[in-house]
Symmetry: C4
Subunit: 269 residues, 4 copies
Amino acid sequence: MKLSKKYLAHVVFESNDPASKTFDIALLAIIFGSIIVAVLDSVQSLHEAYGRWFYLLELGFTFLFTIEYILRVWLTSRTLKYVTSFYGIIDLLAILPVYLSFFIANTQLLSVIRALRLLRVIRIMKLGRYLAEADFLRESLKASATKIQLFLFTVLTIVLVMGTLMFVIEGPSSGFTSIPVAMYWAIVTLTTVGFGDITPVTPLGQLMASLIMLLGYAIIAVPTGIVSSEMARRKRPEHFEKLKSCTFCGFERIEEGDKFCRKCGNEIN
Amino acid sequence: MKLSKKYLAHVVFESNDPASKTFDIALLAIIFGSIIVAVLDSVQSLHEAYGRWFYLLELGFTFLFTIEYILRVWLTSRTLKYVTSFYGIIDLLAILPVYLSFFIANTQLLSVIRALRLLRVIRIMKLGRYLAEADFLRESLKASATKIQLFLFTVLTIVLVMGTLMFVIEGPSSGFTSIPVAMYWAIVTLTTVGFGDITPVTPLGQLMASLIMLLGYAIIAVPTGIVSSEMARRKRPEHFEKLKSCTFCGFERIEEGDKFCRKCGNEIN
Amino acid sequence: MKLSKKYLAHVVFESNDPASKTFDIALLAIIFGSIIVAVLDSVQSLHEAYGRWFYLLELGFTFLFTIEYILRVWLTSRTLKYVTSFYGIIDLLAILPVYLSFFIANTQLLSVIRALRLLRVIRIMKLGRYLAEADFLRESLKASATKIQLFLFTVLTIVLVMGTLMFVIEGPSSGFTSIPVAMYWAIVTLTTVGFGDITPVTPLGQLMASLIMLLGYAIIAVPTGIVSSEMARRKRPEHFEKLKSCTFCGFERIEEGDKFCRKCGNEIN
Amino acid sequence: MKLSKKYLAHVVFESNDPASKTFDIALLAIIFGSIIVAVLDSVQSLHEAYGRWFYLLELGFTFLFTIEYILRVWLTSRTLKYVTSFYGIIDLLAILPVYLSFFIANTQLLSVIRALRLLRVIRIMKLGRYLAEADFLRESLKASATKIQLFLFTVLTIVLVMGTLMFVIEGPSSGFTSIPVAMYWAIVTLTTVGFGDITPVTPLGQLMASLIMLLGYAIIAVPTGIVSSEMARRKRPEHFEKLKSCTFCGFERIEEGDKFCRKCGNEIN
């Protein structure tokens, strides 16, 4: 019989046959649908006109998510592990807000939690061709983590020193009302965002601001250089896929021109 | 006789002799002329002073484009294929707006279609030295497409979560009137554009904004790293295609200009 | 006896055993605590509410820093060298402001000096895993120093010429009140910060501004390219140092983990 | 006798002995002095207070530049070639403005020409250690010229199409008064400058703006990638300096591992 528990678990957790793929695509559609409803509902004019329908749709989506969550809890072989896993918590957070809203009035906080539903897309994406690429990006960033931490510390030191200086130079009359605000301005400037809500007006302040801007313009090269060189270095393994294996010991990294296996010394034909 | 249909087709479709080149340059001049007229006509003061002349020039350009279109349809050996091709549709769109304007009053939509005339430059450019380079760029981008898609998804997730958070933290009083508006602000901030039309005013909002800015400043390294490493990788083959092998010992890295094999000393013809 | 002068010096200056590490972590906590107090104290509302407590905390931190400074002066084997070193001066600057504030009224200047306390973190960081990475970054930047100087000169030339031009084109009525102000605007624009406090309003000014923006957008590639290629080049040697040669045939690319020579099959010890 | 014409020409045109270096440094000081005076003189308050002194200093600098120009014309062996060369024209432009100001009243145009004096620094710089680096940068940019042209064409197409679209969508009421102004806005946005003097207010306009921003954020990778990969490729020649030459024919590019000269077939020991 086709609708066995094992078959259902396959449909829900795998994605290598038509039924599983249909399930994944339907889930994606519901996730994006629920997010679009939440986003549109935040627009005052749309909320007033269609707020009732948005609420009904939201209840519908939550009902479907609840069924899916119950299915997953029931179908998984290791229930406790799933419930306490990253995806298990995300899945629960996707349905909780609506049930909580029956008791709690703070709907704004709930809409933030509802936005987290987007994270559910990651699981479905993981099953596709993005997996290798995402791993590649994650590993590149992980390998550069120490350099990036050092870079962020340097940035924060610049921000603190420059923020304090600008607070002293410009003062509250130009909008630099406190060191935290001046640090916020320094970040806005160093990252070349430049909102313009706070700007220096004294010549000395404008000179200092120019220095921060040139610094920000120059040091943006550092994270780029870090990630670029890391990626360039990491490219090589991709190359290894074309290599042949040793017929004796199965060692997989036999390179072109190798006459003997590096691991077992077996001659390669 | 020189003005045969075959000769005309050569002039219109090729670009390897003086007559063809003159045709291409004249066409380029007309395209740029028509675009400059459209741009200048949108300036209120110039429209009032010279609107009449701009209209006459536009009619003239359209007349020339119409002749060119008829020529191409007549001269091509595969008329249907040309008419339905990308360039065929662009060529038709270049003349349609003016003829439509006799019947339709919405001149603004037509001016957008007229801007598409610039796309016609691509065909003329394709015949020049840009071809190889354009292919190089296109292939680099295509090879990085999966990574770029993943990157865009990550960016949109950040934008949705941050937009929702800022909408909740700052609220309509600071200009964050809805989640879509807050997402627009998050894109403005993450891409380091920073218009300043909407800015956070609460300390918590400014802290969140600082995080988004540092994030945007850091992750700009990712697309750059992707494209850079892709381009660096793609450079190599270009070099190796020119190498030949030694006819005596089979050494594969004979470079241009080598007269003797570096490995066996055999003379290379 | 454990509390000897030698043991104390080890705790204060080294960081390879639990006692030394505890000392370093306590110092880090005090440094960050004192900086957070200084930052919060600059907020008007917090200063009014808790200014008294911030002052007492500041006195406490300064007392601890003073003890630490006396300890370092007493424990070091070369007192004069320490006092005149970079870290010695930073350590002194960390405690001076508070003592000076008993005599001098200008508290703002003192708060800038207090911000320099963050520099003390560098010494503690130097003892950790960041050392190698920081050296890597510093060397990359040092190797690119000539190129970066040349780049900065080019940027400043563009800023001077463009600033003068914009001052002439736009004039004081648009906010370009003098060449220094116009140069400040040119830096704001070239670095893509774009505050928007001063913006061109004449068509010619907007055209010139567009040129500067495209220029700034294009030349940001130069520092990035410099640092990236420098980092990529610097990566390689790191890898090759670990290689050994085959003792039998002299093949030079034996990698870590290889048990047999790839060329002759000789076993590697 | 030491003060011969030949010795003077050496001092003025070369820079490899103390006298020549002193001459170059004095010239640099005068150039920077004259530029600083021009910049300060544009500040209204300083002009009112010290305008008289600035004018006298300017006359002094011009007198020194005039002597230098006469010296160069007199000392060079090929007078006509010098006068019509790039540097000859720059040298003349450095002194002309002041003499012209006796006849012409437009002092603003003259101050722009005076800013060009900074270009004179290039010649003096050329004689220093920057020469090789500047050549490196120039060649890297030249090698990428075709790609950069193509990139700029793509950017301008995006700017025209997006500018026209935004003019149609937002219209004059939001500040998009004409297509040229909308194109200026598109450049401000695409290059991530984001002044905020003109910003979209309609939802559709904000959506289009978001697309332009993400596009600008993504395609900044292209020029960076072009220049980076070009620089990485160009690094190699530096490597060739370590190679040995053929003892028979003097061919200079013998690489490690070569057994026979590639040019003459001579065996290498």
